[in-house]
Every structure is written in C-alpha cells, then in structure tokens.
C-alpha cells in the first residue's frame, strides 16, 4: 500500500515539476506547482509528518500559490517567448546541475544504514512537535514572527505607488495646463 501510494504521488510530483518547465503560460506553471505541492503533502503524511502535511497544503498550496496566481492575473502575464537558456546556462549551468544530481544520487544509492518507510510507522503527532517547538525552540519561533512582520511591511512599502512619483506627475500635469 505504501509502495503504491509512493509511486502514484511521486509520479504526480515529477509530472507536475516537468509540466512546470514545459508550459509557456505562467498560470499553467502555477497550477502544476500546486499539483507538486499537494502530492508532496501526501508524501509527508506517508513519512509520518502529519502537521507538516497540513501546513504544506495550507501555507504552500493555499496561501503562497494564491499569491502567485493573484500576481499572474494582476499583471496579465502573457505567454513567454521560449528560449532554451542562455550561453552561460549551457556552458556552466546544465553541466553543474547534471554533476550535482549525479553526485547526490551516487551518495544516496551507496549510503549505508538508510532505513525503510512502511505504513504503520509512528506518526509524529502535532503535540509532540509543538512541545519541542514551544519549549526548546521558543526564541527562533518568536524571531520568525518578527521576520514575518518585517516582510509584511516590506511588501506594503514596495508594492504601493511611491508618493514622490505621483507628486512630480501631478506637477507635470499642472505645468502642462
């Protein structure tokens, strides 16, 4: 059962990731990324991380991807012209990716002592996770909230029209009249 679920959702994951690369319209890429993230949530559940599976769907597939689709629709992003990467990408980028993937795959396949995952392994409960998070790791958690606050302020400051530009625009209109 675990094997079948793994094959189905790992296949969905890879298909979504490859589809993200092949699509030319950003909204199609965003929808394939949602497929990838949702099937990753199932894989987290298979590995016994129930809280992360829920957070993956709520935060990633929900909040972040809604933000992405909002921006795609807001900016009315059209099809991208297809290029197959720059010259730098072909000379350095793709050989480097291939080398990294080959090294990681070799290390993983030769690693000793990696266990197996089966259905009925212990699930890390949310209670267990939060007791560690709120006792031993309380300070990093609070620092994260400050980070989120700064990110909100930065996003608002970046995305609004700058008043200086509007003023000069208004001046130009007035002098034009």
């Amino acid at each position: 059962m675990h094997l079948i679920l793994f094959i189905i959702f790992a296949g969905l994951c890879l298909a979504g990731a490859i589809n993200l690369l092949l699509q030319t319209h950003p909204i199609n890429s965003a929808l394939s990324l949602i497929v990838v993230m949702t099937s990753l949530a199932v894989l987290y559940l298979l590995l016994g991380a129930e809280f992360l599976a829920a957070a993956q769907i709520i935060v990633y597939a929900g909040a972040i991807m809604v933000l992405f689709t909002f921006v795609v629709m807001l900016l009315n992003a059209g099809r991208e012209e297809r290029t197959m990467g720059s010259r730098a990408a072909w000379t350095i980028g793709f050989p480097a990716v291939t080398a990294i993937l080959a090294v990681i795959a070799t290390v993983i396949l030769h690693a000793q002592g990696l266990g197996v995952a089966r259905l009925g392994d212990g699930i890390t409960s949310t209670e267990e996770l939060s007791s560690v998070l709120f006792t031993k790791l309380l300070l990093p958690f609070e620092v994260t909230s400050v980070l989120i606050l700064i990110a909100i302020l930065g996003a608002v400051a970046l995305a609004r029209h700058s008043e200086v530009n509007e003023d000069s625009h208004g001046d130009a209109e007035r002098t034009g009249k």
């Binding site: 950003p26 990838v36 290029t83 690693a111 980070l147």
Partner: protein, 107 residues
C-alpha cells in the same frame, strides 16, 4: 494480502525524488524567461529540500528536522510576499516580465 500491505519503500527513493525535484527547479531557473516562473522554480527547489528534511527526520526519529521544515515554510512565505511585491514594482517601472529585458536594478 498481508504481504501486500507490508510493502515498504526505501528512504533512498524519497531522497532521490527530492534531488530530482531540486535539479528540475534549477533547470527551470535556467531556461524560464518569465520573472514569475523563475520565482516558481525557486519555490520548487525549496520544496525538494524540504522533502529530504522530512525523510531524514523519519530516519532518525528526530522532531527537530520537521521543525526545520516549518521554519523553511515561514521564511518561504515571507520571501514570496516580498518577492512578488518586487515583481509588481518592477512591472510597474518596466511594463515587462521578461528577465532578458530587465537588466538594470535602477528604476
């Protein structure tokens, strides 16, 4: 039927999947020519790394690996908010999303 339910998956398969997802993210970063899709490829790379964190947390029965993924998610959310705001600001200044035509940081 019992053996059917007892089938197990080596953790190295999960790690391989995460390595492939990360590499696909890098390839997308290199071949995509739209600012938003380049940003999506970065999210794909983050997700690939998260999967290997969860796999190792399962291997060593360590809760802290899962908590690290939680923090990565929070940072990714902050990064998405700021990054998309920057994309909107760039689009407002240049009226294009093609990365080849955005070659100066100054507005």
């Amino acid at each position: 039927m019992n053996s059917f339910f007892a089938q197990e998956v080596p953790l190295s398969w999960y790690l391989l999947l995460s390595a492939i997802l990360f590499s696909l993210g890098v390839v997308g970063f290199l071949i995509k020519r739209n600012l938003i899709t380049v940003f999506m490829s970065i999210e794909l790379m983050l997700n690939g790394v998260n999967l290997s964190f969860v796999t190792f947390a399962h291997q060593w029965h360590a809760v802290k690996g899962q908590i690290f993924v939680f923090f990565v998610m929070m940072v990714a959310a902050a990064e998405a908010a700021v990054g998309l705001a920057i994309i909107i600001a760039v689009f407002r200044a240049r009226a294009t999303l093609a990365v080849d035509r955005i070659d100066r940081m100054k507005l």
